[in-house]
Symmetry: none
Subunit: 279 residues, 2 copies
């Protein structure tokens, strides 16, 4: 078997011969295709852990593809990793964007991707500073004490709400996504009980559904946590706890990175408190 001499060739070889590989070797091949960087740098024990395949199988895999051992294969992948980034593309593009480079009249798709990545990273950078730490912990406490958590978000905020509901469920919390499908937001709202919690996510321009939902729930005396961009917005008033997030904007499209990151952290914090108590 002729030894592979470039990382790209190796990838292609694995793809080509993938079907005829044994299950174990497929397992290892999949890992290398999915994450060639880790595969090239991590120790065999770590790879073994992540793939579930014993070290000897990894060596066998490498030999199957013409290498002397796993070490040779890793050298290939490692070189590829190091060669690929001499302070490359991203930083330059991101910087150009942040400096307000108007000199690129026709940004291609990849440029836009770079812009967006830069803007998102920027949003995350400011997230820690803009979010009130005490409020954040307070919000986690509210999650903990709630019987059931109802999560609501419309239009642009809907994906964020969906993810929060999903994550809370995965963390063992009873969570319901108020999606308002078929105009049933009102009906769903009526099912929010006294010991429950409503988490509302809404940004300017605020969806009417969210505003009325929050006011309605507030009148029932149910606790409300709100994630929004302004403490004086219409959805902020009924909130018992308010988390302020400021997302960045690119060419008229606002990022979701900040909000997404925030709700992810919320869900994880909740899940983590459980394990801390049980431990």
């Amino acid at each position: 078997m002729a030894a592979t001499d470039s990382a790209q060739q190796l990838r292609e070889a694995i793809l080509e011969r993938f079907d005829e590989l044994s299950p174990r070797l497929q397992q290892i091949g999949r890992y290398i295709l999915d994450d060639p960087n880790s595969a090239g740098v991590e120790t065999l024990a770590v790879i073994s852990d992540r793939t579930g395949a014993p070290p000897s199988a990894i060596v066998r895999f490498a030999q199957t593809f013409g290498f002397n051992g796993a070490a040779s294969m890793q050298r290939l992948l490692k070189d590829q990793l190091l060669a690929a980034r001499p302070e490359s593309g991203y930083h330059r593009r991101a910087r150009e964007f942040l400096e307000g480079a108007e000199d690129t009249p026709l940004p291609g798709p990849v440029d836009l991707l770079a812009e967006f990545a830069g803007a998102s990273a920027l949003a995350l950078e400011h997230l820690l500073q803009s979010v009130d730490h005490d409020r954040f912990e307070e919000c986690v406490a509210m999650l903990r004490e709630a019987e059931t958590v109802h999560v609501a978000g419309f239009r642009r905020s809907f994906p964020v709400a969906a993810y929060l509901a999903y994550s809370l469920q995965r963390g063992g919390k009873r969570a319901i996504l108020v999606d308002g499908i078929g105009g049933m937001a009102g009906l769903q709202a009526n099912r929010i009980g006294k010991g429950d919690l409503l988490v509302g996510i809404s940004f300017s321009p605020y969806a009417d559904e969210m505003v009325s939902l929050a006011e309605h729930v507030a009148q029932a005396g149910t606790p409300i946590a709100i994630i929004t961009d302004s403490p004086v917005g219409p959805v902020a008033k009924p909130a018992n706890c308010l988390l302020q997030v400021r997302d960045t904007e690119v060419r008229g499209f606002r990022t979701l990175s900040g909000s997404m990151c925030l709700v992810q952290a919320l869900a994880i914090s909740y899940a983590f408190e459980l394990t801390k108590i049980s431990a």
Copy 2:
């Protein structure tokens, strides 16, 4: 010993104390500042060769900055390079324990938020390099040519799909979110026409709905674009265009930052091509 816990902090620490370091240690510090990637991955012997400093000096350098040894420092730099999966969970804990780690006893909510923000930012930083540029542009072209775009994603991928559908609509594209509510994914699939496009988003463990949906649509001859984490996963086969994304992981919870950013960029790129043509 005040242990550094992020690569950026280490860089700053080296810069700050640089002048008061001994010549040899400066030599090593310079190398780490110049090429942190190699410094994190290469063996001590190699670094020794390149810097001219003996291995023991490298160890001493690491200890000067609060690490137990060179290995700990390299782990930090390596994680920065790989971005995803900062040597997750079990192994790191075990090692920290064996090394007598006194830190990270119990991370509070704010710590988790910080961790998450950091991990997400890193994921974004590496997104450009991990995404195949040609494929990305190809995918935008497919969006442009499609009559109607159907977006599908289940479980964890649902928020991503929801946002892509929303963004495309805002960008003037006829887009439909295949949400499978009430088990109607099958019915919705039948409405996907020949000139349409299916964008499927799915990550391991792959939802059965997505796999069968993709296969079903592929048989009808409809073009398919897939956003996933593995080129050999079950959803990858029917794809005409495949975008590979590797999301970061924090304490067992995977981030959505990479995928979200990618679909946002997709939608914007599409919208932008329209304005370019009309301009």
